[in-house]
């Protein structure tokens, strides 16, 4: 299973399907219950006309499929945790995990752009996790996309920035170099809010609790 804080593991790319889309974000339903890509990781949606939209997972939610249906406690006696799912095999069909991804850029015709695409993602198209190579290529272009994460609404922006930086650092070959680079980029974006900057940077801890 996944390790601390979205550190890159060998989980296969989780698939999902777009169920809502707008210029700035898209909502996807995960193929499997609780199967959303890690918070802060990069995902992509390819469309048929050569445009691939890239997003960062900014919020994951699990709840009933029916908007009115609310989950209530099902545990009793010794039945807890996974036993509840065994006892109620219909649960995965009436629950779903959805995740919101903030759009951070797109590729078209072999070029990478870190600003909003001309069209939103298409509904019902597949969402996949970006490979380490794709993440590296995207972040090699620059770190302008961090501004898009900062501007996200109704998402935990500070945590998101830290999570994305951690995930990306561990997916790239030289995590400490990226950490410094991203840190400096953040310092530019947040130069008027030092407290917030330090709060985010402190969360950018790599595995083993190091920063370098």
């Amino acid at each position: 299973m996944s390790a601390l804080n979205g550190v890159h593991t060998d989980q296969p790319a989780q698939d999902g399907e777009v169920i809502e889309a707008s210029t700035t974000e898209f909502l996807a339903q995960a193929q499997q219950l609780d199967g959303a890509p890690p918070f802060g990781s990069f995902v992509q949606v390819a469309t048929d006309d050569g445009l691939t939209i890239l997003g960062v997972v900014a919020h994951v939610q699990t709840s009933g499929i029916d908007p009115g249906a609310r989950a209530i406690m099902r545990g009793h006696d010794d039945v807890r945790d996974d036993l509840i799912y065994q006892e109620n095999p219909d649960l995965p069909l009436v629950l779903r995990t959805t995740y919101r991804a903030l759009v951070v850029g797109f590729t078209e015709g072999g070029s990478i752009y870190q600003f909003l695409p001309p069209r939103p993602a298409r509904l019902h198209y597949s969402v996949t996790q970006c490979s380490a190579a794709a993440v590296k290529t995207f972040t090699d272009t620059g770190l302008d996309y961090l501004g898009a994460l900062l501007a996200g609404s109704e998402v935990p922006t500070d945590e998101l920035l830290a999570a994305n930086i951690r995930v990306t650092a561990s997916m790239r070959g030289e995590p400490q170099a990226f950490l410094q680079h991203a840190g400096k980029e953040l310092a530019q974006l947040l130069h008027t809010d030092y407290g917030r900057l330090t709060a985010i940077l402190k969360r950018c801890v790599l595995a083993q609790g190091t920063y370098a």
Partner: protein
């Protein structure tokens, strides 16, 4: 908005006062009935004989009235099957032409069988052909009744059990452990007849019973579950006992009205029923249904869920099979627990069956587009249009 709230609220208060009075009155009357109940508890055979002679629909006891059975041991492995249905009536006022829609929710949940899949499906069918839209008397083609309102209800009910029978047959084919099939409401649904010919009942009840037969052949017990039952089949039997005339009745002792008035079977049988216990089974003697149902004659028992008393109806072939009956009881107990007061599998089926307003709108649009493609202009009637676009 147009409700005259001032007026209504006054009346609601009046109703409240009456309810309180009625409740008090009810307890008093139940006390009166205790004696009679005590007397007849063991004289169930006499009651059964009496039942055969009464014209109205009554319950026929099959054992002592105070039979109380606790829930059997839970089944580790079983499969719950359920269906439910909903319909869209052909809208005479709608411009979309005549059609109806029946939406059936099908649910199969295998418990304790992790390798098997859960099925939660909706099956929607549109009725638009002549045969769909009109029920024709097979003996006189000139007699046609439009498939609407109660008849559409009846059709929906048949579709529900048909889907249930489909589930039962596939389940039985897998050879997996015990299964129980559930529907909401009653097996003894009503079909209004149009005199002088009896072709509607024939049509619907025959179809219905055919489905029950499929389930019997598949050896999957089927039960109808009614939450917070208001059945009065047993009450009606007791009415027959006392002749229904308060003046002459020992119990009522010249009271103003019959003590049984306003009481339900649940009142009579449920007072000493504990959670998860069921009563013994009672046959329902119905002159309307019996000719058609045959071996699928309905029996019922009352079940205490903890919060209410539910009525469970089963065909005779289930009632007479102790294992099947036991399984029905056990499964219901488990399902009600999982469903927080109502069988979970039925709730799922209901979820899948319900047609929302947006669903209706989508369907309407689909139809309109299709008609438009064919060059048929669909316009609502003036009345409907006025409903849709309110002018002042």
């Amino acid at each position: 908005m147009p409700l005259d709230l001032l007026n209504v609220s006054t009346q609601v208060r009046q109703m409240g006062e009456l309810l309180a009075v009625r409740r008090g009155d009810q307890s008093r009357r139940l006390e009166l009935l205790n004696a009679m109940l005590a007397a007849y508890t063991d004289r169930w055979q006499d009651l059964a004989d009496l039942a055969e002679q009464v014209k109205e629909r009554v319950a026929v006891p099959t054992g002592p009235l105070d039979e109380r059975l606790p829930a059997p041991d839970a089944l580790k492995t079983y499969t719950a099957l359920a269906t439910d249905g909903a319909e869209i009536d052909p809208d005479r006022h709608g411009g979309s032409g005549d059609f109806f829609l029946i939406n059936v929710g099908r649910v199969r949940i295998p418990y304790g069988q992790p390798h098997r899949e859960v099925e939660l499906r909706s099956v929607s069918s549109l009725g638009f052909t002549e045969e769909d839209l009109f029920i024709v008397d097979p003996r006189d083609p000139r007699r046609q009744v439009p498939m609407r309102d109660r008849h559409l209800d009846a059709l929906r009910t048949v579709e529900e059990v048909k889907a249930l029978a489909d589930l039962a047959e596939s389940e039985s084919a897998t050879g997996a452990g015990p299964a129980v099939a559930l529907v909401d409401g009653t097996l003894l649904f009503s079909v209004l007849e149009e005199r002088p010919r009896d072709f509607l009942r024939t049509r619907f009840y025959s179809d219905y019973v055919a489905q029950l037969e499929r389930m019997r052949a598949a050896r999957v017990p089927v039960a109808a579950y009614a939450s917070r039952s208001r059945g009065v089949d047993l009450v009606n039997l007791f009415r027959a006992v006392c002749g229904g005339t308060p003046l002459a009745c020992d119990v009522c002792a010249g009271a103003h009205a019959c003590a049984l008035r306003g009481l339900t079977d649940a009142h009579i049988l449920g007072r000493d029923l504990r959670q998860w216990q069921r009563t013994g089974v009672f046959r329902v003697r119905s002159n309307v249904h019996d000719p058609f149902f045959g071996v699928h004659r309905a029996y019922f028992f009352l079940l205490h869920t903890g919060e209410e008393i539910a009525r469970v109806e089963v065909p005779e072939w289930v009632a007479r099979d102790f294992t099947m009956l036991s399984n029905v009881h056990s499964v219901l107990v488990d399902q009600i627990g999982k469903g927080f007061g109502y069988p979970a599998v039925l709730a799922r089926a209901d979820d899948r069956a319900v047609i929302s307003l947006s669903d209706r709108t989508v369907l309407d649009t689909l139809v309109r587009q299709e008609l438009a493609r064919r060059g048929v202009l669909a316009r609502p009637s003036a009345k409907l249009h006025r409903k849709q676009v309110r002018t002042v």
